[in-house]
Amino acid sequence: MAILVVNNISKHFGGLQALFKVNISVEAGTTHSLIGPNGAGKSTLLNVLTGQIEPNEGSVVFKDRPLLNITPHKINQLGIARVFQTPAIFPEMVLLENVMAAVFASRDGAYKFNLLESRRHAQSVANFAIEILEQVGLQHKIRSEARFLSRGDKRRLELAICLAHKPSLLLLDEPTAGMARHETESTIELLRSISKKNMTIVIVEHDMNVVFALSDTITVLSQGQVIAEGIPDHVRGNPAVIEAYLGKEHA
C-alpha cells in the first residue's frame, strides 16, 4: 500500500523549472531513495513534502490525506519527520532535553499551555527519551550539550529527535553529507535498523554506497523530471541514468 503519493507536481522559480509533472509513489514500510545530479529537483521535492514550498500544480497525498497548503508543524504532527542536510538540533541544550522536547511535542500536540507541570516529574517522557537515545547509540552522552557532538553524533541526535514522534514517514536529506567514512558506515547501519522497524523512509542522497545499501526502490530525477524508477539493480544499469550522471558518451 502506498503511504505517500506525489501526483503531477510541478514547481518553477521564475524561468527555472525545478520540478515538472513528478509522480512518485512510496510504499509503506520501504526505503525509497531519490537520486539525481545536482539541480535535479530533489531538495525542492522534499521541501514541497514538508510544506516549505508550495508547488504550482499537482497534489501530495499522505495516508489518504492531502498534504498541500498546511504548515510544517502540522505536517509533522501528521507523522512526517524530517532530517536536514545540516543536522538541525538544539545545540545549546543537553541531549536529553533535545529529545524530551520532541517527546513532549508528540505527547501534547502543537501547543499546550502547561506552565506549571514539572519536567522533572515527567518520568515517562524522560524514560522514553532515554530509550530513543539508546536506540541511536547516544545513551552515554545524555547530559552533554549537543553542540559538542561530532557531525556523525549530531546526525544520530537529529534522528533521535525525529523518532521521538514515532513518525510513519521519515524524510532524510543527505544524511551522510560531510561525514567521514566510518561515520557514514555507522549511519547506514543505524538507518537499516530503523527501517527494519517497519518505518517508511525517503532518502535524498548523493553517496551511491548509501543509496544501494539501503534502498528498496530508487527514483532518479534529472532536470526536474523522473527519468527512471525501480529496484536498485534495475536502476543501476539504466542507460538514461548513466547518461544523466556521466554524459552521453558513457551511456
Binding site: 508543524h73 524530551m100 508528540s106 500536540g109 506552565l115 519536567r119
Partner: protein
C-alpha cells in the same frame, strides 16, 4: 527526596532575602523607598527574562509598564483609591495591548523584531504626550492622585514594600515553575533552533506570543505597583529609556537566569541612587564603562561571573 527539595530551599531563601530587605538595606547605604523601587524593577526585569529566554529582545516593554501605570493612575484618580480594581484594570488593559503588539511584531525576528517593538513603544509614548494629553496630563504626567488604599488601609511606606515583595515572591515562584515546565523547554528550544522546533510539530508562533504576553503581564504588574508606590505617572514610564534600562539590567545581571536580571535591577538602581552621591553627574559614564566591560568580558553577566568564581574556587580546593 522528601518534601524539602532544592526548589523549596531556593524559594525560601529568596523569600527571606526579599522580606528582610528593608532591615539590612539601610546598612549598605540604601535609603527607605529605594528598596521598594528595586523590588518593582526586579518584577519588571524578571518578567522580561521570560521573553529573553526565547531569544527575542524587545525594546518596547516600557509600553506595557507605562500603559498599566496610566490605567492604574486613571482608575485611582477617577474611580476609587482602592488598588484592587486599579491594578486589575491596569494589568488587563496592558495585557490586551501586549496580545495585539505581540501578534504584530513577533512575525519578525532579530533586529527587525527589536526595532518594531521600539517603534510601538515610542508610538504609545508620543500618543500619551500629544493626542491623549487631555487624559494623561501630557508632558506633566498624571498628577494629583489620591493615596492608594487596600481594604481601607493607606498604602504607604512599608505597606507598599510588602505588597511589592509578595508580588515579587509569587512572580519568582511562577517564573521558576514556568522555566522548569515543558512549556519552558519549548521557550528554550525556540531560542536554540526555531526551525527544528517547528519540525517537531510545535506551533512556534503560539509559544512566542505566550512568552511575550507573560512577560508583559509582569511589566504591567510592575507598572501598576510603581503608581501605588509613588502616586504619580511620569511620561518617562512609556519612554524608550525605560525599555533600554530594562535591557541593560538584564544583560548586566545575566540573561535567561531569572536571578540575573533581578540582581541587575538592584545593582543599577543602587548605583544610580547611592553611588551617584559621590560620582555626581559622572555615574552614567561609570555605568557605561561597566556595561561595556561586562558585555565584552562577562557576556553571561553577574550570574555567569558568580558561576565562574565558584568553578575556580572548587578547582582550587580540589588541587
Amino acid at each position: 527526596m522528601g518534601i524539602i527539595n532544592r526548589g523549596t530551599i531556593h524559594l525560601t531563601v529568596f523569600a527571606l532575602i526579599v522580606l528582610t530587605f528593608p532591615f539590612w538595606f539601610e546598612y549598605t547605604g540604601g535609603y527607605a523607598g529605594l528598596d521598594t523601587k528595586i523590588i518593582i524593577w526586579a518584577i519588571f526585569a524578571l518578567g522580561f527574562d521570560l521573553l529573553l529566554i526565547t531569544g527575542y529582545l524587545s525594546f518596547g516593554h516600557a509600553a506595557f509598564f507605562g500603559i498599566s501605570a496610566y490605567a492604574t493612575g486613571l482608575m485611582l484618580l477617577h474611580y476609587s483609591s482602592n488598588i484592587i480594581e486599579a491594578m486589575i484594570v491596569g494589568v488587563v488593559v496592558s495585557t490586551i495591548a501586549a496580545v495585539i503588539i505581540g501578534f504584530l511584531t513577533l512575525r519578525r525576528t532579530g533586529i527587525y523584531f527589536s526595532v518594531l517593538t521600539l517603534a510601538f513603544g515610542e508610538m504609545f509614548h508620543t500618543a500619551a504626550v500629544s493626542i491623549f494629553s487631555g487624559l494623561t496630563g501630557g508632558e506633566n504626567g498624571l498628577t494629583g492622585l489620591p493615596t492608594p488604599t487596600l481594604f481601607g488601609e493607606k498604602m504607604q511606606g512599608s505597606n507598599v514594600f510588602y505588597l511589592c515583595a509578595i508580588f515579587l515572591i509569587i512572580g519568582f515562584y511562577l517564573a521558576r515553575r514556568i522555566t522548569r515546565s515543558p512549556f519552558g523547554l519549548m521557550l528554550k528550544s525556540l531560542k536554540s533552533n526555531q526551525t527544528r522546533l517547528e519540525y517537531i510539530g510545535i506551533n512556534v508562533q503560539f509559544y512566542k506570543n505566550s512568552a511575550f504576553v507573560l512577560s508583559s503581564i509582569y511589566a504591567a504588574v510592575a507598572g501598576s505597583l510603581m503608581v501605588i508606590y509613588e502616586p504619580y505617572v511620569a511620561t518617562e514610564f512609556l519612554e524608550w529609556k525605560t525599555s533600554g534600562t530594562l535591557v541593560i539590567m538584564s544583560v548586566m545581571g545575566g540573561v535567561g537566569t531569572l536571578f540575573g536580571p533581578m540582581i541587575g535591577a538592584a545593582f543599577m538602581l543602587y548605583f544610580e541612587n547611592v553611588a551617584s552621591v559621590f560620582l555626581e553627574e559622572q555615574w552614567l559614564l561609570a555605568l557605561g564603562i561597566m556595561f561595556m566591560a561586562i558585555v565584552v568580558y562577562l557576556p553571561g553577566g553577574f550570574v555567569d561571573g558568580y558561576k565562574r568564581m565558584m568553578r575556580h574556587w572548587v578547582k582550587k580546593n580540589q588541587a
